[in-house]
């Protein structure tokens, strides 16, 4: 059976991550990069330029003057937001193709929901920058896409086994494919050069027993994953994994907060859709 590495290698032979996405991620990680460097990269992709300008000119930024230049837009958006914009752009194209057992489009909706929920939890409850968790959310299930490309038949087998209650999804994947999407996604994101915390949260988003800190990216991702699953934003039918007790306890304490987040989620999703997908 192929290892997770084999699967990723096979995938990258078929499809490459957009150059822009990798380059922008590198620039975000580099302290010495300047707005000009970003501009040089972004302007290669007209779709990105349009999105970036739309983003900074949206009511969310509330700027009094219209931003027309790329470098100015980069300044206002901030590097991380820019990175996320590029990531969304890069990933969306990969989430294509539906069948009975596995719907990539549903998975995209799931990923977007998890990303938005994660961002909301991080910002509203823990008062921290939501950009990294948003990225973790949007990319956490990329492993499934990789598997679908490289080993579609086996993935469907795994999904079927999972639906029939033959164990957690990751276990079914390992049985059918030889690796699970958490590991595969982790390796792909590592190649991409994403931050360490994002990488480890991808790797551990199905390991419900490993909760280090409630406010960690991994915990927020698990929580958002659980909530999205409960909302039926989940492409693979089957039993949901229970929430780890630490997180259950946390939700109990912050019940009012989570009620508000759930109340506000539809609005946030509409907003995100406007920012990221308005031209479709």
């Amino acid at each position: 059976m192929p290892s997770a590495k084999d699967i990723v290698r096979k995938f990258t032979e078929l499809k490459t991550l957009p150059h822009v996405a990798i380059k922008v991620t590198q620039l975000v990680n580099d302290d010495r990069s300047t707005m000009q460097d970003f501009e040089e990269i972004i302007k290669l992709d007209p779709v990105l330029v349009t999105r970036l300008l739309r983003l900074v000119n949206s009511p969310y930024f509330g700027l009094s003057q219209k931003v027309e230049s790329i470098s100015k837009a980069v300044v206002f958006a901030g590097m991380k937001q820019l990175r996320n914009l590029v990531a969304v752009e890069a990933l969306r194209g990969m989430f294509k193709g539906d069948n009975d057992d596995f719907s990539a489009q549903k998975l995209w909706l799931h990923s977007a929901t998890v990303a938005i929920l994660s961002g909301m939890i991080a910002k509203r409850i823990f008062g921290k920058d939501g950009e990294d968790v948003f990225l973790a959310g949007i990319i956490h299930d990329i492993g499934l896409i990789v598997e679908n490309q490289v080993a579609g038949e086996q993935l469907r087998e795994a999904c079927k086994a999972f639906r029939e209650g033959k164990g957690p999804l990751t276990e079914c994947e390992r049985n059918a494919i030889g690796a699970d999407h958490a590991e595969v996604g982790y390796l792909l994101a590592k190649d991409w050069g994403l931050p360490q915390e994002v990488l480890s949260s991808i790797k551990s988003h199905h390991l419900s027993k490993q909760v280090k800190s409630v406010s960690s990216t991994g915990s927020i991702l698990q929580l958002a994953e659980f909530m999205a699953g409960k909302m039926q934003y989940w492409p693979i039918a089957g039993p949901l994994e229970p929430l780890p007790p630490e997180l259950t306890e946390h939700v109990k304490e912050k019940m009012a907060d989570y009620k508000i987040i759930i109340r506000d989620l539809p609005g946030e999703m509409t907003k995100a859709k406007e920012l990221y997908e308005a031209d479709e």
């Binding site: 300047t34 409960k230 229970p242 109990k252 019940m255 009012a256 989570y258 508000i260």
Partner: protein
């Protein structure tokens, strides 16, 4: 899909009665004298801190009635006290309350206690909503904080960017500087290399000059001598042709060397007093014979305002005028050639003169005017075949005039003639220098012919030629082949003058001259030299060199020589310098017999 709610998502951890419990606790605290019960929609019974027991049938009845009306319904508790029930729509529950302190009729609708109770209920309900509002508010504050942090980070990022850009600019400037420095160094090196090549070229030319002049010396000298021997007319003609050709070849060599010197920036003009009319007359005289042969008139005119004597390089001025007049003569078949020095203006205390050479010759086509000043170019290719010449003359004149601070120009009309002219500032010679010159002239006139000359020359042909020339002028001559031999001669014999070649084997002319001066300065040593011990003044030494450069001349004087002659020896020049340099009283007359 129905809108998901907290309850549907976290169904496992939602306690259905938690909200009711919380409401009951709040109300319980608000109404310390009342005891109460809360019945949920599902029929669950929640009790306050102060017990109130109502029998099940009574309770069911109260709940049922309360759900049907808006307001209180009344019943009786187990302890006989009256109790009241009200339906709370927001909680989907019925509250049963009993208050011993309140009078019975207060429970009537509109009574004060009822209002109070209602308000308390509202308050308890709002307290719960407030919890949500507080959480909402707190979330907003956290989000605002994040935005503030992001804003701060943007500012920080921008500052960092600014610094980075500055660093990059500095780095770029530094790179640029070092690049410029590198290129400058390279250019300097290339320049030094070029200068070295140029120096080597100059040295080569100087050597060539020597190599060319030595044989020319012999050719011109012997052909002149040959012409003076008894010859048949045909032979005399041949001898004259040899002399003419050799002379024009020497002119050409001099032209080329001059041009090379000018281009190497090595030509320096002299700054000596001279008489302008002498120069002009000299030039006119040169063309007298060819003019007469051609039937052309050569004339000259000098404006009276032009200084008679001036400072400058008379030889170079003559060279320019001879060149221009020579050209004019060459291209003029009838009419005349006029040399004129006109007063142009006075500027900065100096008179500016206009020198022109006008001819009535063939003229120059307008489109060829520029080209004639270029090296090796004449008005057109056929000119060379028809009139001869190298085309170097005008190029040299142009450069010389520029060195004199002027510019050579021409106006010409084809078929009618041309005027070459240049305008240069003239410097009047100071008076004392004039008198010195006159004194020198006077001295020369008084000098008698005759005397003993020591010729130091290694080349046998030159020994013979110079020997013959000197003897013909009426001097005695003794020959030495190098410096050592010359010193040996001086040890035993007296001489009036030494003609000293500069380049010789063993001991060259420079060294020999220095030796002689040393001996003269040492009274003891001087006694052992017959040729030096009795002299009242330093022995006259005239250098002979094929190197015609200014620095060669300077080097001769530096070594202690009194005069300087270039080879090939021109008879006239030799005669002049011997006349100047020979002492008035020959060593033959005051010869010390001891």
């Amino acid at each position: 899909m129905t809108e998901p709610t907290f309850d549907t998502i976290f169904d496992d951890l939602v306690d259905a009665n938690a909200e009711l419990q919380s409401f009951l606790a709040t109300l319980d605290a608000l109404l310390p004298e009342a005891s109460m019960l809360l019945v949920s929609e599902a029929g669950a019974l929640l009790e306050g801190t102060r017990p109130l027991t109502v029998a099940l049938p009574v309770r069911d009845k109260l709940v049922h009635e309360a759900r049907a009306v808006d307001g209180f319904v009344t019943g009786k508790a187990d302890n006989g006290a009256r109790c009241h029930a009200i339906h709370l729509a927001k909680l989907s529950a019925v509250l049963i309350i009993s208050c011993a302190a309140a009078p019975e009729d207060d429970w009537e609708p509109g009574a004060a206690i009822t209002s109070l109770l209602r308000n308390s209920l509202e308050l308890a309900l709002y307290r719960q909503e407030r919890e949500m509002l507080v959480a909402d508010h707190e979330q907003s504050i956290r989000q605002i904080n994040i935005l503030q942090q992001q804003h701060g980070k943007l500012i920080e990022d921008n500052y960092r960017q600014y610094r980075l850009n500055q660093d990059r600019e500095k780095e770029y400037a530094r790179k640029l500087e070092s690049e410029i420095a590198k290129q400058t160094a390279e250019l300097r090196e290339a320049n030094a290399r070029l200068e070295e090549i140029s120096r080597l070229k100059s040295d080569f030319l100087a050597n060539m000059s020597h190599e060319l002049r030595t044989p020319m010396n012999a050719i011109i000298g012997f052909s002149e001598l040959l012409a003076e021997t008894p010859l048949a007319e045909e032979q005399r003609d041949y001898a004259r042709t040899i002399t003419q050709s050799a002379t024009s070849l020497l002119t050409l060599i001099n032209d080329i060397l001059d041009l090379a010197k000018i281009e190497a920036g090595k030509l320096e003009l002299e700054h000596l007093p001279f008489e302008l009319s002498e120069v002009i007359d000299n030039v006119v005289a040169m063309f007298k014979i060819p003019a007469r042969e051609k039937g052309v008139v050569v004339s000259s005119k000098i404006d009276s305002r032009i200084p008679k004597r001036m400072m400058g390089d008379s030889n170079r001025l003559r060279q320019v005028l001879v060149n221009l007049a020579g050209n004019a003569m060459k291209f003029t078949e009838k009419g005349g050639v006029a040399i004129e020095v006109a007063y142009e203006r006075e500027a900065a205390g100096r008179i500016v003169g206009r020198f022109s050479v006008h001819d009535s010759g063939i003229g120059i086509p307008a489109d060829r005017v520029e080209a004639i000043f270029e090296k090796f170019t004449q008005a057109d290719g056929s000119t060379t075949r028809k009139y001869g010449g190298t085309g170097l003359g005008l190029a040299i004149c142009l450069q010389l005039v520029e060195l004199m601070g002027g510019h050579l120009a021409v106006t010409s009309e084809e078929g009618k003639g041309s005027t070459f002219y240049f305008v240069i500032p003239l410097e009047e010679a100071p008076a004392e220098i004039i008198s010195l010159q006159e004194h020198k002239d006077a001295a020369r006139e008084k000098a008698p012919a005759g005397g003993r000359i020591l010729l130091v020359e290694d080349n046998a042909v030159n020994q013979r030629l110079a020997g013959i020339l000197i003897t013909r002028e009426g001097y005695e001559v003794e020959v030495a082949s190098d410096g050592t031999e010359a010193l040996e001669h001086l040890r035993h014999q007296a001489f009036d003058l030494v003609l000293m070649d500069v380049q010789m084997p063993n001991m060259d002319g420079m060294e020999a001259t220095r030796k002689i001066r040393e001996i003269e300065a040492d009274p003891a040593l001087r006694q052992s030299y017959v040729g030096l011990r009795s002299l009242k003044q330093p022995l006259a030494i005239v250098g002979l060199t094929a190197h015609a450069r200014k620095e060669d001349e300077t080097a001769c004087y530096d070594a202690g020589m009194n005069g300087f002659l270039t080879k090939p020896i021109i008879k006239a020049k030799l005669v002049t310098i011997l006349g100047e340099m020979m002492p008035r009283v020959s060593c033959l007359e005051n010869h010390d017999p001891s």
